[in-house]
Amino acid sequence: MYNTRMNPISLFCKSREFKQQLELLRPRLYRLAFSWTQDHALADDLTQDALAKALKNSNQLRDSKKQDSWTFGILHNCYRDYFRKQKQLENIDDFNLIDEHQPETDYEHYSITEAVRNAVSKLPDNQRQILTLVDLEGFSYADVAQILDVPTGTVMSRLCRARKALASKLLHYADKTDKTVALRRIK
């Protein structure tokens, strides 16, 4: 029978500071999740899932100064778990994805924003995660290594490959759209 009672006020007895910080992280988590998935609905779910898990496991955070990277680590785990369930996640670090929509061929139909997002979406998953953690969130390489549980050297090499791949598409594209900027081919 339904004979139990709850006190909703006592539901909110977690550290206020922790929750406030978590709340401030929400848009950052969402943006990163979107950059990984290119899907607003999935980014919504991943953000909510990460926040819920962060709250549930808040006692596992030993250093409050590390709350940001700790929470982003949870987001990474949620993302990995989601694709593990979907059986879509493969280690494709060196796998060259074919991009049927080359920015330089259809740039007339795309804004530069769309072109960049399109190029980012075509990166191998583990490169995209590192790129966005560094470029969007400004995490240090050491923090990224901790969040994704990979060596710092791996962070550096994957980031390098990610930017190189983007450069091969976007610098050429940018050159076409911005004639005032003279770019010299290096390699």
Binding site: T4, R5, K53, K56, T113, V116, A167, L171
Partner: protein, 245 residues
């Protein structure tokens, strides 16, 4: 002095990301003064980073419902409850393990606390959303018990109240039409009280259908809303109190 070819791409990436120590930075900065090719390589990397930041500008990407509560409509903070408790998921598990449920602590008393606020009119309808996203039986039990208790008390006292039960994720089990004790109880409540709304997250339904190829059969009393987040955000703007079970 080091030349362009002496610097690997990894090092130049680390340079623009400010990950190098002082001496390494000085080496690159010194080389930059005489090496146009090196300058161009660094400019290209910087440009890529700027493009990525531009493409994922937070203002463009993040919808309003994902902004911190303080940045949303201040009016939604009415009654000092709703937005400040937007995220409380997971608390209940720990709470259950530490506190015993008592008759002194329930939603009715909580509602009374809010009504004691002189700023709130005595005749104003209290609107509360109860959100469930997990499928533990004890959560369902508490949710349904409290809902029934609140509806009955308010009806007895002739006070207006609106309750919306919102289920998403695993919490959707509550409103699946599979003759579970919980869904039967919910149907009974819905039949008895017309001020009770039952809502299901449309996103969760879509995802389940995508993953399993099958649609989820819900109790006929349930409405399908666009998404749980959207609905929570909408209700908060309307001044509803939000409680996650």
């Amino acid at each position: 002095m080091k030349l362009n070819e002496d610097f690997s791409d990894e090092i130049l990436n680390a340079f623009i990301d400010e990950q190098l120590d002082h001496d390494e930075r000085v080496q690159i900065l010194s080389a930059l003064r005489h090496d146009e090719v090196l300058t161009q390589r660094i400019c290209d990397l910087q440009k890529i980073r700027n493009l990525v930041q531009l493409a994922y500008s937070q203002k463009e990407i993040v919808p309003e419902h994902q902004l911190p509560a303080t940045e949303m409509h201040q009016s939604s903070l009415r009654k000092g409850v709703a937005a400040s408790i937007l995220i409380v998921t997971g608390i209940l598990g720990g709470w259950f393990s530490h506190q015993q449920l008592t008759t002194e602590n329930n939603l009715v008393q909580y509602a009374q606390t809010i009504r004691n606020n002189p700023a709130i009119s005595e005749h104003e309808t209290w609107q509360v959303m109860l959100h469930v996203s997990h499928n533990e039986a004890r959560r369902f039990k508490v949710l349904l018990n409290e809902t029934e208790n609140l509806l009955a008390t308010y009806k007895k006292n002739n006070q207006p109240v609106h309750i919306e039960i919102l289920a998403n994720g695993k919490g959707l089990d509550l409103i699946k039409d599979e003759s579970s004790p919980h869904s039967i109880k919910l149907k009974q409540l819905k039949a008895k009280y017309n001020n009770l709304i039952v809502s299901a997250c449309g996103q969760t339904l879509q995802r389940i259908k995508k993953e399993t190829g099958k649609s989820v059969a819900l109790i006929p009393e349930a409405n399908v809303v666009r998404s749980a987040i959207y609905q929570i955000s909408k209700r908060q703007k309307q001044g509803w109190t939000y409680i996650h079970i």
